[in-house]
């Protein structure tokens, strides 16, 4: 089916209605001339895919920035480096250089042929000094996390009923089970099942943000130690909220999960280890995200 669609895609015309309006030609002379700035006196670097195999980069560097970094920036040449972001790698190896080019202009733009243009990328601009790259500015990262990471690798389905704010996730096999009379598995209480459901939702909301994962681990560890250092917990929570203050859904799920963890009796979950595995899986591949057997009870 995929090949068939690809072929049809190629054949598909790209007519747009607006073109049919403008085929009449521009008959009213456009007299107005508008001046727009060549640059804005800011330091900026932008990278974005133009296609799945090409990237567009633009930049602007100011003398203010150069003078703050170098004694004599006159005639300086610059290097733009493109890095692939490999979220599964340790922090030190997370950004891997994939392309580099030299530029002379402080304001400019360029296109780069790059076969993985839709993957997570970041650009940095700087100066080579004694064979060492001195970074001046970096772009915002794009496509982080990649859709390839976001996509669950399993047969995951969701049921969304009208007017409900969020859906319920399940695997096809689970749904089939649910349709039979409910049977409680011997080593799992209904509460644990609920907890796993919360975890799944939690991960589906934010599998991508490793910073949150790190903070989350810290919070849970503090709570596990029954720490009396409330200030420390509050500080971590504040940091957590700073990192992702907009995502109230995530916060709700997190708090709900913590409440389950604190109330749960019996064997504790090795949550730090579990989340480390999840973090790595979420960064490089989501293959294991929803495998229940990885949760150690």
């Amino acid at each position: 089916m995929k090949n068939e669609l690809d072929e049809k895609q190629k054949q598909n015309p790209t007519d747009r209605a607006i073109e049919h309006f403008v085929t009449q030609g521009n008959v009213v002379p456009v007299d107005d001339e508008y001046e727009i700035p060549d640059s804005y006196g800011i330091d900026t670097l932008f990278i974005h895919p133009s296609n799945n195999d090409s990237l567009y980069v633009y930049w602007e560097i100011t003398n203010t920035l150069l003078n703050s970094k170098f004694n004599d920036p006159t005639g300086m040449e610059f290097t733009v480096k493109i890095y692939a972001i490999k979220m599964g790698e340790p922090k030190a190896r997370r950004e891997q250089e994939v392309y580099s080019f030299e530029v002379k202009d402080m304001v400019g733009s360029s296109y780069i042929k790059y076969p993985a243009a839709l993957k997570p990328l970041i650009a940095k601009m700087g100066v080579m000094e004694n064979n060492k790259f001195v970074e001046l500015i970096k772009s915002k990262s794009i496509a982080v996390p990649s859709f390839e990471v976001l996509g669950p690798r399993e047969d995951l389905w969701m049921e969304r009923l009208k007017d409900l704010p969020s859906g319920t996730l399940f695997k096809k096999a689970e749904k089939a089970k649910e349709e039979k009379p409910e049977k409680i598995e011997p080593n799992k209480t209904p509460d644990v099942k609920r907890e796993l459901d919360i975890l799944r939702q939690f991960l589906s909301v934010r599998v991508k943000d490793t910073n949150i994962m790190d903070t989350f681990v810290q919070i849970v560890e503090e709570l596990r130690k029954n720490s009396q250092d409330h200030a420390k917990v509050v500080e971590i929570l504040r940091h957590f909220v700073d990192v992702r203050f907009k995502d109230m859904e995530l916060l709700r799920l997190l708090l709900e999960l913590i409440s389950y963890l604190l109330l749960m009796d019996g064997k504790p979950i090795d949550i730090a280890k579990y989340l480390k595995e999840i973090t790595e899986a979420g960064a490089g591949s989501s293959e294991n995200l929803f495998k229940e057997e990885q949760v150690k009870l």
Partner: protein, 537 residues
């Protein structure tokens, strides 16, 4: 027995074009032609279907700039003049052609048509096209969805997340203003998807959007049902993907139905064909010939020079056979797909609305005839997205691939060497406005003349940014059509923004200039610059 579903989707959009500084401005005619040739004929077809008890379902986007133009008193007034001129010209033509029986029939057809359109506009629609959309929306026969506030090309704007969020939030507000309820679906501008946009849609209560075929087929994991069932993104927003087969049958000017020899020829128009002195009052005042809307010839043959006279009755009869062909092709398609699916297949057919009627003159009649078939037979049921999700709330979870419906399937139509210069300005403007909105969020609340002017200036900065963001300008530059106008419009808004910004930050605001911009670039009258402030600042 229902074997499958068909979901027709019409994307209605035109960029905001308003030029009160000119008595006659060609680009304003885009709107007038779209109203008289597409929007009103489609609404008339819907009205007819209701009268004839033909069941139909349509999903229609009405983009915020279009809604704003359709409600603009100046443009409504201009449209009325436009229709009156068409009626006047048609009457002259009926007299001129009294000795030419074959062509006279077409001239009479036009006269009758324009008078009917005028009556429908002033009567049923009460001089506002949106009244018609609201009428069928409230009856549940159509689902009206929104789009980006000014059809901004969201992937390239995302470097400033607030810029994208405002495109969606303002679209939602505008939809509510004109249709009295929040939109539940969206047509992403240029069908352009990127990772994370679904999170913003979800935050705005949007339940579904559309993808081009490869956006879904290249998603992860592969969709079990191809493009023939919707999916949920990981944020729980449903995505429906375009069926390439049914698209091609209508989109393609050569292989598709619109190229049939009996249909009206788009290009042969009396604005170009008739004696200059005679047609002069109905073309551009500077004497340049333009389309008038009166076209007497049929396509005839692809390479034929000698065009034959158009026969509306024959053409309309042809829409019946084409509708039947389309309908039976869908049955074949659905039969073929059914074997591999555990539910009735869904065929999603999105088109630019303005192709129906404007480019393909008989298009609205074609749609009417398809609905006649689906209504009479229960093999294929026409549905809206929410109706489908009501019956099939369980769908696969997939992360769609970045994509658009442009040539090559990604972003190059809107980001290439011809138009890339636009984006550094758009990014700077969005960053600047966000900073200003954060800074002045509470500083101008006190009621004073000075504060009022500053607030108005900030609001106009927001309008200029939004208008510059319209993807139409970059698209037209790429297509090498109306390049001068598109470039001018982009530069105009960038220039206005920078001039106003300079005034705001230093010498003081030129009130006359501000007033002029408020009148001319008047989109989103009620906009509040604070919408650009970061939410938790």
């Amino acid at each position: 027995m229902i074997k499958g579903y068909w979901m027709p989707v019409l994307h209605s959009h035109l960029p905001f074009v308003k030029h009160p500084e000119y008595d006659y401005f060609l680009e304003e005619h885009w709107l007038f032609e779209a109203i008289s040739e597409t929007y009103i004929p489609l609404l008339m077809a819907m009205n007819r279907m209701v009268d004839e008890k033909i069941e139909f379902r349509l999903t229609l986007s009405v983009t915020p700039p279009l809604a704003e133009m359709l409600s603009d008193p100046y443009l409504i007034d201009q449209f009325k003049k436009y229709v009156n001129r068409l009626i006047e010209l048609s009457k002259k033509e009926v007299l001129r052609l009294s000795g030419d029986k074959e062509t006279l029939k077409v001239a009479e057809f036009y006269l009758n048509r324009f008078e009917t359109i005028k009556t429908f506009f002033e009567g049923f629609l009460n001089s506002n096209v949106l009244n018609g959309y609201r009428f069928f929306y409230e009856q549940g026969l159509i689902d009206i969805i929104t789009c980006g506030a000014t059809h901004g090309f969201l992937p390239v704007l995302r470097v400033n997340k607030r810029a994208v969020e405002v495109q969606i939030e303002l679209a939602k507000e505008t939809h509510k203003k004109y249709f009295n309820k929040d939109p539940e679906g969206i047509w992403l501008p240029e069908c352009a998807y990127y990772e994370g946009i679904d999170e913003i849609l979800k935050a705005n209560g949007i339940k579904y959007f559309f993808l081009d075929s490869h956006g879904l087929m290249d998603g992860v994991p592969s969709p079990k049902h191809g493009v023939y069932a919707p999916i949920y993104t990981i944020n729980g927003v449903a995505a429906f993907a375009r069926d390439p087969e049914s698209s091609k049958q209508v989109w393609s000017s050569k292989a598709g139905y619109p190229g049939d020899p009996v249909y009206r020829d788009f290009y042969r128009d009396i604005g170009f064909d008739l004696d200059f002195e005679y047609i002069k009052p109905y073309i551009s005042p500077d004497g340049k010939r333009v389309y008038t809307g009166l076209k007497y010839y049929k396509i005839t043959g692809e390479e034929s020079e000698a065009k034959l006279i158009y026969d509306p009755e024959v053409a309309h009869a042809k829409t019946k056979s084409h509708a039947w062909h389309f309908y039976t092709e869908r049955i074949k398609q659905i039969d073929m797909l059914s074997g591999a699916m555990d539910r009735p297949p869904l065929v999603v057919s999105p088109y630019d609305a303005e192709l129906f009627g404007h480019w393909w003159f008989e298009g609205p009649e074609f749609l009417y005839n398809i609905f006649r078939e689906t209504s009479q037979n229960d093999t294929i049921k026409a549905v809206t997205p929410l109706e489908y999700l009501g019956v099939h709330p369980t769908n696969q979870v997939i992360a769609p691939s970045p994509s658009s419906w442009g040539e090559d399937g990604y972003y190059s139509v809107w980001l290439n060497e011809g138009n890339d210069w636009i984006y550094r300005h758009l990014h700077y403007m969005a960053d600047t406005l966000e900073k200003l909105a954060n800074e002045y969020k509470h500083l101008l609340d006190e009621d004073s003349v000075a504060n009022s002017i500053k607030r108005r200036a900030l609001n106009q900065l927001a309008r200029e940014l939004l208008l510059a963001q319209s993807s139409d300008w970059a698209f037209l530059v790429t297509q090498e059509t109306a390049v001068e106008y598109s470039t001018k419009r982009t530069k105009e808004h960038i220039s206005n923004f920078n001039r106003l910004l300079g005034d705001f930050l230093s010498v003081g605001i030129d009130e006359k200039f501000l007033e002029w911009l408020e009148y001319k670039n008047s989109i989103f009258e009620d906009i509040d610059f604070k919408i650009y402030s970061s939410k938790y600042v």
